[in-house]
């Protein structure tokens, strides 16, 4: 059983405007998304602005309620959990956000920041809190004297370590990492990515890793899911998807990734136009207006995720070649 399973998750936001807040329709930020996060593994979520990856993270963190669909934690439906069960879930799922300058209270000392989840959630002796805070600082590679300092006395990379220590205070099983290194300097990013990998190995953490840096996601993830306009278009083994993407959008996305050497010549697929508004997503396959391989049926039928070369891809190009997809019809 997966640690966390999402099945057909849907999140709509109403769009209102004008003096009397007339309903102007709805934005389907997430539209029928399914995935699983295994213990001690990383699911990477990639896609461009507005594809729904942050909304997906909020649904997992229970900062938003899904319009439809189910999230299961160790097999139990979150919607059916009682108060105690929900508290347990919220302790087990923590988050680290992009900007360590905004996510730490400038008036609190680092020791208090890290201890806050412990103090509010557990009845602990002061000495036990101090012991655990010390252990957390050690775990993320900060010196013990850091506890008496304020966030402004730290650099971006060290602040992100503080944010990670706080996220680990309640010994979570899953950590949502929303762009955890994109605000950091290049020379610091590798430090934090290595730290996250070490913590995963040491503590058996599962990660939901969201980033726009494709190479970083491929590096960190076991499984990667590519989202476009609220849907997963391709999901599978991270290295396979990065090396041989199947969905035309994934192909374009990875072909647009910057090279790591001037001799690395990738055939660049430049997509026409921009991502359409999620207020009026195109009919059929949502990618068809920009797809270099679009066929007549792409504008009519929405493709379903089906197995292609050991991963799932939602594209009509593979209808003919995959017997499984044909069977399901």
């Amino acid at each position: 059983m997966a640690l966390l399973e999402a099945e057909d998750l849907v999140k709509h936001f109403p769009v209102q405007s004008g003096l009397f807040s007339r309903d102007r329709g709805r934005v389907s930020a997430v539209d029928g998304v399914s995935f699983a996060i295994e213990r001690s593994q990383t699911l990477g979520l990639v896609g461009e602005s507005g594809c729904g990856k942050s909304t997906t993270a909020k649904l997992v963190l229970k900062l938003e309620e899904p319009t439809a669909g189910v999230i299961r934690w160790e097999g139990r439906n979150l919607a059916e959990l009682d108060g105690a069960g929900l508290r347990e879930y919220r302790r087990s799922v923590q988050a680290v956000f992009q900007d360590p300058y905004a996510s730490l209270n400038p008036r609190m000392r680092v020791g208090a920041i890290i201890a806050e989840p412990l103090v509010t959630n557990e009845r602990l002796e002061a000495s036990e809190v101090a012991r655990r805070t010390g252990r957390l600082l050690d775990l993320v590679g900060l010196p013990a004297r850091a506890r008496d300092l304020f966030p402004h006395e730290f650099s971006g990379g060290q602040r992100q370590r503080i944010a990670i220590a706080r996220a680990l205070a309640l010994e979570p099983r899953l950590v949502v990492l929303d762009e955890p290194v994109s605000a950091l300097d290049v020379s610091i990013r590798a430090q934090i990515l290595n730290l996250l990998r070490d913590l995963q190995a040491q503590l058996g953490l599962a990660y939901l890793f969201i980033a726009h840096d494709l190479a970083a996601v491929a590096h960190m993830s076991h499984t990667v899911a590519v989202m476009y306009l609220g849907k997963i278009v391709e999901i599978g083994d991270a290295r396979a998807v990065a090396a041989r993407p199947k969905h035309p959008y994934t192909q374009a996305l990875f072909s647009a990734a910057l090279p790591s050497h001037p001799d690395e010549q990738r055939e660049e697929i430049i997509l026409a136009g921009e991502v359409p508004s999620p207020l009026h997503p195109p009919a059929g396959c949502r990618f068809h207006p920009r797809c270099p391989h679009a066929m007549a049926r792409c504008a009519l039928d929405e493709p379903r995720l089906g197995p292609v070369n050991g991963r799932l891809t939602a594209c009509h190009l593979y209808d003919a070649v995959t017997p499984e997809a044909a069977e399901r019809g």
Binding site: E48, S49, S155, G157, Q158, D185, V186, S187, I188, R189, A190, Q191, L193, N194, R197, H212, D213, L214, A215, A216, A218, H219, M220, R239, A242, A243, A252, L253, F254, S255, A256, A257, L258, P259, S260, H261, P262, D263, E264, E268, I270, L271, E274, V275
Partner: protein, 329 residues
């Protein structure tokens, strides 16, 4: 061989920020020398606080009041910009040297139409009439691949997407056919596929107009893709300067080597990243000797005492490192 007189030559350029009481001096740009020929692309890479933006503002003499150009020469088309009166500098900026900034929303005025803003430099610098400037503006929008330029000229920045705004800023930058374009992190706020579109556009514009381009970025991938030459900045200095391919294959400075090693690459699997320990230095309190020595894995006694000058390690390739002194010719 390239043209005998470079389009731009910087000689020992040094810019400091001085606090109001003169007690704190931040050495943002220190002894920078480089040459750029017409049609070439130079990448200036560095982390935040390495002085790369101050270098760009120094070239344009657009520094804030607290900054002083302490010494050095800025030779543009053979003339020293340091000796130009402000009135003449204003004629050069926007006409012969243009700049694109990081945030396209902040560089467009929300109260004026796109047409007014694209036409403005043409009217100011070339004294064109409103009508003819607007005609040129429509052509420029077409050149930067804005669809339906006839209607777009009458619209406002908020009606454009991020990618379109950045292309409009590009249209303004090339409106007076400058010889040199300085782009400061022009794609950091853009999505991957939009970034690819924009980089291709810049390259096309460069080829068509024979522009020289200075790309200021923290992203080595952009350098690998776009630049003929690279200048790596650390603590206000150019620590390494050379042809892009040579820098990627045979970097001479330990900082450049470490930076290249620390970046995750697509398809490199789960190799552990080589992180650079420590933090970038505070420019107001630089360590003695080579500013990189506290983080350098190959540090020697001499590095703690003396700041190395630039040594030529090969044709066109120089490094500011005592290790390079050994191999210097």
């Amino acid at each position: 061989m390239s043209a005998p007189t470079p389009l731009l030559e910087l000689r020992h350029l040094t810019t400091h920020y001085v606090s109001a009481r003169g007690s704190r001096v931040v050495a943002a740009v220190e002894d920078v020398s480089l040459r750029l020929h017409a049609g070439e692309t130079l990448g200036v890479v560095g982390e935040s606080g390495s002085g790369k933006t101050t270098l760009a503002l120094t070239i344009l003499r657009l520094l804030p009041p607290a900054a002083r150009i302490v010494r050095g020469e800025i030779l543009f088309e053979g003339e020293d910009l340091m000796r130009k009166p402000d009135r003449e500098m204003r004629r050069i900026r926007g006409k012969r040297i243009a700049m694109i900034l990081q945030d396209p929303m902040a560089s467009l005025n929300p109260l004026f139409t796109i047409g007014d803003q694209v036409a403005e430099p043409i009217r100011v610098h070339e004294g064109a009439s409103r009508g003819s400037a607007w005609t040129r503006a429509r052509d420029l929008l077409k050149a930067v691949k804005i669809s339906a330029p006839e209607t777009r000229v009458r619209e406002y920045p908020h009606q454009m997407s991020g990618g379109m705004r950045q292309r409009i800023v590009g249209a303004i930058a090339i409106s007076c056919e400058p010889r040199l374009l300085i782009a400061d992190e022009p794609t950091t706020s853009l999505d991957v596929t939009i970034q690819a579109q924009y980089l291709r556009l810049l390259r096309d514009l460069q080829r068509e107009h024979g522009l020289a381009l200075i790309f200021i970025t923290h992203n080595l991938g952009i350098v690998a893709k776009m630049c003929d030459h690279v200048a790596v900045m650390y603590a206000g200095r150019i620590v390494e300067l050379g042809p892009t391919r040579r820098i990627f294959d045979a970097a001479a400075h330990p900082y450049t080597q470490a930076l290249l090693e620390s970046i995750p690459r697509l398809g490199d699997g789960q190799r552990r990243l080589a992180a650079i320990d420590g933090q970038p230095p505070d420019l107001a309190a630089l360590p003695g000797g080579c500013p990189f020595h506290p983080r350098c894995t190959q540090v020697m006694d001499r590095c703690r005492a003396d700041d190395p000058p630039a040594f030529d390690v090969a044709d066109d390739h120089a490094a500011r490192c005592w290790l390079a002194a050994r191999d210097a010719r």
